[in-house]
């Protein structure tokens, strides 16, 4: 991944100073900025954007938490303070279109910001990837060397049920030469990984099982070699689940962006 350094990641401030306007703002998100595993997903998205010739920028140090976990925990003040600050920054740069690396940022920016004054066209990175492949701005080299492999997609709640995006991640992976298999609970009926609703940031309540173990069990039942996700939090939960079953050698958890970046040989 050392080649990331060859890609200059421009900030909005730099773009503005140079008198340029990006096509799209890449909203990285907190996990994508700070979590070691999620940073790899961020880099994969950057490579895809760069390779497809998309003129993009990030906010960098001007980006702040969308407030999603605060809102789901019930802390509406905390959420709306974040929203107002972010809207000021976004509107200051006259942002029109945003792609997010996280379904939680996606949902919040798309659905909850407009009423607070922030109106943008917001897409999730799997939707962008689907578009880039369709419009042939991004071409995969062959099938990406996944021959004989099985991939199963875990629907993040805030992408799937919350926003009815089920096809984009699947169609983005269609060109891979792997076999796409579905878990017994998928799409509308997909089971949560256990991280949503700010559960990621606290101990689970008392119970007889961890949710991520229950969900990873579904994925392992499909005999897939790769569990694909589109959410950094799902990624963490499923990775922990795979560890629970001691299947790290056989099963990898990857973001759709990483699969596509590797298939495009980026």
């Amino acid at each position: 991944m050392s080649d990331i350094e060859r890609i200059k990641v421009p900030t909005m401030a730099e773009m503005m100073a140079a008198g340029e306007i990006p096509e799209i703002l890449f909203w990285v998100g907190c996990a994508g900025s700070f979590d070691d595993r999620a940073k790899k997903i961020t880099k994969a998205i950057v490579k895809i954007l760069h390779n497809a010739g998309v003129k993009f920028a990030v906010l960098g140090a001007e980006e702040s938490c969308t407030g999603d976990p605060a809102k789901r925990a019930g802390n509406e003040f905390n959420f709306q303070m974040q929203a107002m600050m972010n809207i000021q920054v976004l509107d200051g740069y006259e942002i029109k279109k945003i792609v997010t690396g996280c379904p939680h940022c996606f949902n919040t920016l798309k659905n909850e910001y407009p009423e607070l004054g922030g109106n943008y066209e917001v897409i999730h990175h799997t939707q962008l990837i689907q578009d880039l492949i369709k419009s042939e701005k991004l071409t995969l080299k062959g099938g990406g060397g996944f021959k004989g492999k099985k991939i199963t997609f875990h629907d993040p709640c805030y992408l799937g049920r919350a926003n009815d995006v089920y096809e984009a991640p699947r169609s983005a992976m269609e060109k891979l030469d792997a076999e796409l298999v579905e878990m017994k609970r998928c799409k509308q009926n997909g089971l949560c990984c256990g991280a949503g609703g700010a559960q990621m940031f606290k101990e689970a309540e008392k119970g007889d099982k961890e949710i991520n173990v229950e969900r990873t069990g579904d994925a392992i039942d499909t005999q897939a070699n790769i569990i694909a996700t589109g959410c950094p939090f799902c990624n963490t939960m499923m990775t922990d689940g795979v560890k629970h079953f001691e299947k790290e050698a056989e099963v990898k958890v990857m973001d759709v962006a990483e699969l596509i970046a590797s298939a495009a040989d980026l």
Binding site: A73, D208, E214
Partner: protein
Amino acid sequence: MGISNIIFIILFIGAVVWFAFNVKKIISNIQLGRKVDRSDNTGLRWKTMIKVALGQSKMTARPVAGLLHIVVYAGFVIINLEMLEIVIDGISGSHRVFEPLLGGLYSAFINVFELLALGVLIGCVIFFIRRNILRIPRFHKAEMKTWPKSDANIILVIEILLMTAFLTMNAADTNTSGNFLVSSGLKGFLPIDENSLYLIERSCWWFHILGVLGFLNYLPYSKHFHILLAFPATYYSNLLPKGQFTNMHAVTNEVKLMFDPNADPYAAAPEPDPNAEVVRFGAKEVNDLTWKNLMDSYSCTECGRCSSECPANQTGKLLSPRKIMMDTRDRLEEFGANKGVDDGKSLLHDYITTEELRACTTCNACTQACPINLDPLSIIMEMRRYLIMEESNAPQEWNGMATNIENNGAPWQFAQADRLNWATEE
């Protein structure tokens, strides 16, 4: 007009009045809820109602239960057309008033009704077996003890008895030229002398009509009220994306003030308007919820599809979205009956505990699974808001998270200035 007609008229009017009285009570309880505007988008609302309530499009997610439910429901509703005849006969003393009017068509109608009755009968027997002998797990969770459990069985037994009475009545009726499809098969089991047959026919007739009137009045006390409320509940369902949670306007106003560059931070706080309602952030009591939440609680049929899809419930946590609905209804009944007198109890803590609320992942599996688009999640969210914003009741980790978000713009303790470090690090 004979004595039996007079008795009939009195019973009939009594039943209708009692039913209306109970419905009125329920409506006024629902009106205790907070305002929420669901008057928009009437076209889509009608469509949703016709598809989801009338067409039962979400029932068939579980094909066996779904199909049986459609048979029972369609049968039950259509057979009730026959009620029209029964009521006219009961009031006027006629016998099968439509038979001479409809001629040959009459037999056709009754045949259809009989086939449906048979369908309802078989459906209810299978439902009874599924519930009590096969013991489908979702019917036997913690909240399904005592009343909720008997409620479901009482309904099934009533329906079975009503259908049996309807068919036996037709079989025993010697004053009709009709020989109907299903009931003719029962004739062999009945005595042949006219008098006994007359007695059986009359008993079944009375049993059927009294059963129906009784059932009508049982509804408002039962989860079975959903056969009526499913329609408004789906009509007023949430049409926004499931991930879109409400923004609290009271909070928006305060936050906007803080962001207003013209606001004088040292100005004295404006005199609070003595007539203004005290805004409570979130929900502690049923009347802090919206009327739609309250209507939902009366519409819930306790099927448990929500809880059986709930990740928290599946992994042994205390949370059950069905229980959230049932608690809301139970407390609402109690709260409504108190007529404003404080009984020292509240929905939060006395019915629904913090531990339950904390277990929710806000995944929307419950709202997706609910066959009539009910929304346990929005009740959970309102109560979570109350916990945090009114009681400062949060787990330690959440307090840390909030502080981090406030101070460094991320739920973890990383400096906001370092947000772009990934772009240059190895």
